[in-house]
Amino acid sequence: MKHILKGMFTATAAAAVLATGAIAEDAPRKGGTLITVIATNVRNLNPAVQSGIVTGYPGAQLFAAPLRYDEDWTPQPYLAKSWDVSEDGLTVTLNLVDNAVFHDGVPITSEDVAFSVDTIKAHHPFKSMFAPVTSVDTPDAHTAVLNLSKPHPALMLAMSGQLMAIIPKHIYGDGQNPKTHPRNTENVVGSGPFKLVEYKSGEHVILERFDDFFIEGRPYLDKIVMRIITDPAARAIAYENGEIHMGAFESLPRIINRLKKVENLTVTNEGYGGIGPLDWLAMNTTKGPLKNVKVRKAIAYAVDKNFIHKALMEGTASNSLTGIHPDSPFYNANVEGYDLDLDKSRALLDEAGFPMNGDSRFSLTIDFGWPGVKPQVEYVKAALKKVGIAVKVRASADFPTWAARMGKMDYDMSWDTVFNWGDPVIGVHRTYSSDNIAKGVWSNTQGYANARVDELMEMASVETNPAKRKALYAEFQEIIADEVPVYHSNTLPYHTVYNDNVGNPPLGIWGTSTPIDMTYLKN
């Protein structure tokens, strides 16, 4: 194995180890069973055809991606021992490690990489990840060349975490639809550090160490048990009494704060920059008073973010000002923050031509798609009443009802939660791009259209110089903060909980959607 760490990669690999803190502790202990928890039932273990955080955790253990990322958003070798982007940005060459095998012993080759890219392109919902990839050449068994129609810097993040699972062609290439393939849940043959022992819907996923994993000496753990416990209070008790060693995506403020007080537990919001979950108030910019940017600004000035952060989120969420997650290197914090200013809000509404008429100026509805955000919605109603906007809360019976309304833009305002999913091209552009209006839930359901914003996103998606790219996104964020198609409230307070026995928990940019081959149990 030593040859992988030779040459130029010695430095980065050592940095990766340092960054994850493994050296600061005693040498990682081998063996043991890590008991973890998943909050929702798992439906599919194959991240090539199923996105989402629930599949991401088991999926990233079962399947390896070409790259992995460190805490500083720097790509590191994984299944690809090195990679090369051509001068013009139109070809990306992956040099695979040459001893990697699938869980059934079949070698992992460039054919599998090409097959995986095709499968993901055809069946993964995030079309933008591999859209510019026109073909994959396989000059030899361990070299895969991705040919692009245009430079595509987002590809780097799209080749890491759970987003580019390398799946075996000899299993999934049998002509069955990969999306409903029986091997997505049974007898899964993966490429990652752990292999499947048992998957029981609604009960658990059990994984065990894959002895022929391509990184020698890893993974450290013998077994990972992923228990499915849907009730947050029951999960909290299980962390506290030690039945569960580790869990991620805890988001209820009261429970987070309660667990923070427990002596042998660590509760942290690190590890969510890649997924980038954001809470915001969406506004339908094509309808009634909300067409007017002054009205949208007035709403932003009337909502007291402090109240949301302190009273509703109980201090567990961070501020977010733009559509890009604050942990992302592209985040621009120097934009209009809309501190509470009721006078300014009223003045803007007057200017916009909506004077007080009786006890209100006009009325709007506000929607929400799941019960957890009802307090936010009720708060917005109360806050806007102060400036003369009458708000009616419109509940949806369940998620599909709300999603159908949003997808058709049948709403005025709605609380919404949207994820970044790594590069802005994947999860940010969809909200603001004018050619993605009203294309289902989590598209541009605001009906927002700004030619300069479209142009900036277009340029940023092909800009290979990181500094220039950052500048493009900085301007993009200034404009959307100024025009308020959505009022950005906070990051979703996802937290990872682990007890003192867990060494090196997954707190990188992809959190648990990344291989936890370096995590160990201290005793």
Binding site: T33, I35, T40, N41, R43, N44, Q50, S51, G52, I53, V54, P125, F126, K127, N177, T180, N184, T185, E198, K200, S201, G202, E203, H204, I206, V225, R227, I228, I229, T230, D231, A233, A234, R235, I237, A238, E240, N241, E243, A397, D398, F399, P400, T401, W402, A403, A404, R405, G407, V418, F419, W421, G427, R430, N436, K439, G440, V441, W442, S443
Partner: protein
């Protein structure tokens, strides 16, 4: 002939009932806005129209309502409950995997509640104004009125957190190894708290009903006669009175089977019990029509079988039922 005829009539009713359950629920599911394609896209973190359309076409959701309904009924007639869009598994497999856990939980809770409830009811009926009566009444009212998710969490905090007597969630500890008895004890430990929680609702009903029924019977002429004959108090109560007082309790126990799923949903959710209740809840949320209909089909079956058993049990304790037709 009597029992066979009753069974035959029940089967005819059952088929009609099942058909009604299917048509009604299918229509209701269809009328609600949004469908499983939306929830699939939710779990994917968003999808474009093209993917949504593809999902709808591949599951036949683009077909007219009548076609979808007809297709479904013709499948069910052939004992095929269809394929879950959401779980990518055959519905029958999904349900059969979950059914044993729910039956274990519900039957344990029912039997325990029935036995303890009747005993408590009798105790309080014997001294209607005594202290024991007030204790039983209080327990019953508490068990009935406290929401199960609250009682459940309270029990968890007490018995899983403050003292580590019982595990928090699930049905088994996958890390332990051993023979049958090791697993038996493990499952029993996991079963205890959910069964107590679920049983507390039933217990309230049974103890109140058997108390009322017992008091009525204790006041009747033949009990007085029995006492006058010089029979001991216990003989009168347990041999003469209780047998007659049991009929309404058994009827209620049978009816409770219909509440099996509704009650178990919440308890299963709190304790992550891998049963039908959790599956039903998730399927409703996900608009997974085939799974919901499959579960309703099974629960209708359970209710029908439960009612049939109730009838038979009543015949055993009360010869007047059914008579010699």
């Amino acid at each position: 002939m009597g029992i066979l005829r009753i069974i035959f009539i029940r089967v005819v009713y059952a088929i009609a009932l099942l058909l009604a359950v299917i048509v009604l629920n299918f229509s209701l599911m269809h009328m609600a806005p949004g469908d499983v394609a939306d929830t699939i896209s939710q779990s994917m973190g968003g999808a474009d129209q093209e993917i949504l359309d593809e999902i709808r076409v591949s599951y036949g959701l683009d077909q007219p309502f009548i076609v979808q309904l007809g297709r479904y009924i013709s499948n069910v007639v052939q004992f095929n409950l269809g394929y879950s869009f959401f779980y990518n598994q055959p519905v029958t497999k999904l349900i059969l995997e979950r059914l044993p856990a729910t039956l274990l939980l519900v039957i344990t809770a029912q039997i325990a509640a029935l036995l303890i409830g009747v005993v408590l009811g009798v105790i309080s009926a014997r001294k209607p104004n005594g202290l024991s009566n007030y204790v039983v009444t209080f327990l019953a009212l508490f068990g009935y009125s406290a929401p199960v998710f609250w009682t459940g969490i309270l029990l968890l905090i007490t018995f899983s957190l403050n003292v580590h007597w019982f595990p928090v969630a699930g049905m088994r500890d996958v890390t332990i190894e051993g023979g049958f008895w090791v697993h038996f004890i493990d499952v029993s430990r996991h079963l205890f708290l959910p069964a107590v929680t679920l049983g507390s609702i039933f217990l309230a009903l049974y103890s109140r009903l058997s108390r009322a029924s017992m008091m009525e019977v204790l006041g009747s002429d033949y009990v007085r006669t029995a006492k006058a004959k010089g029979l001991s108090e216990n003989q009168v109560v347990y041999k003469h009175a209780l047998k007659n007082a049991l009929s309404p309790v058994i009827t209620l126990a049978g009816l409770q089977f219909s509440a099996v799923l509704s009650g178990a949903v919440l308890v299963e959710a709190v304790f992550s019990w891998p049963g039908l209740g959790t599956l039903a809840f998730q399927s409703i949320i996900a608009r997974d029509t085939p799974t919901i209909l499959g579960i309703l089909f099974f629960s209708a079956l359970v209710v029908i079988i439960g009612n049939l058993l109730t009838d038979l049990a009543l015949r055993l304790v009360d010869p007047r039922v059914g008579g010699n037709k």
